[in-house]
């Protein structure tokens, strides 16, 4: 029985988006204050080369480093009704969306792609904190459902990278309803006997943590990531005491039994390949830099650190 089949029909193809980054840009590590050359930082997957602090990385940049040869195909996400509540605070929600689209060059806060990692075909979903704090609304829900459906259709594992300030308040109750919606998506992957791996990145909070981001077969977090339901400031206001710096950080959750592993971003790819291949009872991966697969993934010349998404 597949009760999702006719709900979302995935299509291949989306708009090619790339971010313009000036070559001679320096950025400062927010942790150790070291000035880092942008190119060097990008090559190190936005991990500080001095102190190892994990900075934000867009799903597109992450996927370029994750997939074999940097090649992946975007999975289309059904577009939800725009501004379903006609929400307005100090700004109109539609204006906030436009602004986020302009600054990120992305459609919304989640990117879904299929491709191979270590010759292991997967579907991946990455949440984009730079797009309205990665907040979960109808689009993010649709993206996770599309990812799950694609994973089931292809018989592939689903790997999800979470990053969110929580729910998209401008979608009110409909953002809250993404908790059950995305849970159904996760159930579909699990009931098809496929692995669902969650990588929690900084920060993952609120309704996102309390739904799909906590339901993985294996739960991995990046070092230092803030992972919580109620944020530290809200708790401090409630209990009227200062919380320790390490509270609700990945390492703290690991200590409290809420995670399987905390893994450095540079080691994540290898670890995902290894875990997935064991869960799928496949032979160990070949330890080498693999070129992009010839078929059936689309062609494209992966440029330095650039994502290649097929248009079609």
């Amino acid at each position: 029985m597949n009760w999702i089949t006719n709900y979302v029909r995935p299509r291949i193809g989306s708009i090619f988006a790339r971010r313009e980054v000036p070559e001679n840009l320096w950025s400062k590590c927010e942790k150790c204050q070291t000035m880092l050359f942008h190119r060097e930082l990008a090559e190190n997957l936005n991990v500080c080369t001095n102190c190892g602090h994990h900075m934000a990385i867009t799903p597109r940049a992450r996927f370029a480093a994750l997939f074999d040869g940097g090649v992946f195909t975007e999975v289309a996400v059904p577009e939800p009704i725009a501004d379903p509540l006609q929400f307005r605070d100090s700004k109109k929600y539609t204006d906030r969306l436009k602004e986020a689209r302009r600054t990120t060059d992305e459609r919304e806060a989640m990117l879904v792609a299929e491709g191979e990692i270590g010759r292991t075909p997967i579907v991946a979903a990455g949440q984009d904190f730079s797009f309205m704090a990665g907040s979960m609304g109808m689009y993010v829900g649709n993206a996770i459902i599309a990812a799950a459906e694609r994973a089931v259709a292809l018989g592939r594992p689903l790997v999800l990278f979470s990053a969110a300030g929580g729910a998209r308040m401008q979608e009110g109750i409909l953002s809250l309803m993404q908790m059950p919606r995305t849970t159904v998506a996760v159930q579909m992957v699990k009931e098809a006997g496929l692995p669902y791996i969650v990588v929690l990145t900084h920060p993952t909070t609120g309704g996102v943590t309390a739904s799909y981001a906590m339901l993985g077969d294996v739960q991995i977090a990046e070092p230092g990531a803030l992972i919580c339901f109620a944020g530290p400031r809200v708790i401090e206001q409630t209990i009227r005491e200062k919380l320790p710096e390490e509270f609700q950080r990945a390492e703290y959750l690991l200590d409290h039994g809420m995670l399987d592993r905390v893994t450095h971003r540079k080691e994540l790819r290898g670890e995902l390949i290894s875990i997935l291949r064991m869960l799928l009872k496949q032979s160990p991966a070949v330890a080498a830099d693999l070129p992009a697969p010839a078929t059936p993934e689309p062609q494209g010349t992966p440029a330095d650190g650039e994502a290649v998404a097929d248009k079609g």
């Binding site: 029985m1 009760w3 999702i4 709900y7 939800p80 009704i81 501004d83 379903p84 509540l85 006609q86 929400f87 307005r88 605070d89 100090s90 109808m138 829900g141 459902i145 729910a167 308040m169 401008q170 979608e171 009110g172 109750i173 409909l174 953002s175 809250l176 309803m177 908790m179 059950p180 919606r181 849970t183 159904v184 996760v186 159930q187 609120g206 309704g207 943590t209 309390a210 739904s211 799909y212 981001a213 906590m214 339901l215 992972i227 919580c228 339901f229 109620a230 809200v234 708790i235 206001q237 409630t238 209990i239 919380l243 509270f247 609700q248 409290h256 039994g257 809420m258």
Partner: protein, 320 residues
């Protein structure tokens, strides 16, 4: 003594005056003020109708949080027989913010789960104001498993400001507990119905309200965040809660239009707190009707239809 809300000031004046006249008449029957008192009563009831027909979203929040509004325990006492509370998450503790157990609803055995806020200072503290900790969700999961194993319908009564923003609750994994509870709701092969009787606060509500049929009392609310919280984040001013309540579309009427809930249950004139027995009876009829709608579904279709329902939510906006 009636607790009046800020928008009920003039109503309080009239009802106070009527009461005064009646007291006077009892002390001195020759005063002949009964007629005057009756006129004031009529005026008060007209005013009440007008007020409650036109409640703003923020006023509905106030009514939903009214200290005299009937709570989970009142519903359990009045609507169920053979009530047998079952305690504990078998792991750490029993969460008193969550009531759960076996009971009979109109003779048929069911599992009941609900948030209880408490009715005075002592019980409010004991119940943590209806804010569950991880143990509450884990108790609910255990009881839902029990229901599933023996084919008993699950009835939930939702009334919570939200999950508890405490240190221990976070350390013991409330995110995971909420996620698992929602997951369990979506796995059940028995009928599940939920009624939001007061506040449906965020993830704490979703964990119990992911049901085949969801009803809300007329003046209850169900929201992703409290209006105060939303105001302080988006308006950078917690005092803008009226605007936030408006924008969030958190009323039973809006949620019904959005297709998020299936049924709105009428409250007595002036809100559930003015006639608790009548409100509770209406909720009882609502539960019976919803369970009746599900009676013919097979275990598999109960689960699949519940999942399909949630996947379909949001397909239409307010315009539809």
């Amino acid at each position: 003594m009636t607790h009046y809300l800020d928008f009920e000031k003039s109503l309080a004046d009239i009802e106070g005056k009527a009461e005064e006249l009646r007291t006077m008449s009892r002390a001195n029957p020759e005063a002949e003020v009964d007629k005057e008192a009756a006129a004031l009563d009529r005026k008060a009831s007209d005013m009440l109708r007008k007020l409650y027909d036109g409640l703003t979203p923020w006023q509905k929040c106030q009514v939903a949080r009214h200290p005299e509004r009937p709570h989970c325990r009142d519903y359990v006492d009045a609507l169920f027989t053979d009530w047998t509370p079952l305690a504990g998450d078998r792991n750490f503790a029993d969460d008193h913010a969550v009531m759960g157990g076996l009971a009979r609803f109109r003779d048929a055995p069911v599992v009941v789960i609900g948030h209880e806020k408490g009715h005075d200072t002592k019980s409010r503290i004991e119940r943590n104001f209806g804010m569950a900790r991880p143990e509450g969700y884990r108790k609910a999961i255990r009881l839902m498993d029990l229901a599933d194993r023996f084919g008993l319908p699950v009835v939930t009564l939702v009334d919570t400001p939200g999950a508890y923003p405490g240190k221990g609750a976070e350390e013991r994994g409330q995110s995971e507990a909420i996620a698992r509870s929602t997951e369990k709701c979506l796995a059940l092969k028995v009928p599940m119905v939920a009624v939001v009787i007061g506040e449906g606060g965020s993830g704490g509500a979703v964990a119990f309200a992911t049901a085949n049929r969801v009803a809300m009392l007329e003046h209850s609310i169900y929201s992703v965040i409290s209006p105060e919280g939303c105001a302080s984040i988006l308006w950078k001013d917690a005092e803008k809660m009226r605007e936030a309540a408006e924008a969030l579309r958190l009323t039973a009427q809006d949620l019904s239009r959005l297709g998020v809930i299936d049924r709105v249950i009428r409250e007595p004139l002036g809100g559930a707190h003015r006639d608790a027995a009548a409100a509770i009876a209406s909720v009882g009829d609502g539960i019976a009707a919803m369970l009746g709608e599900l009676a013919d579904q097979s275990p598999d279709s109960l689960r699949d239809n519940r999942r399909r329902k949630y996947l379909g939510i949001g397909a239409k906006g307010l315009a539809a």
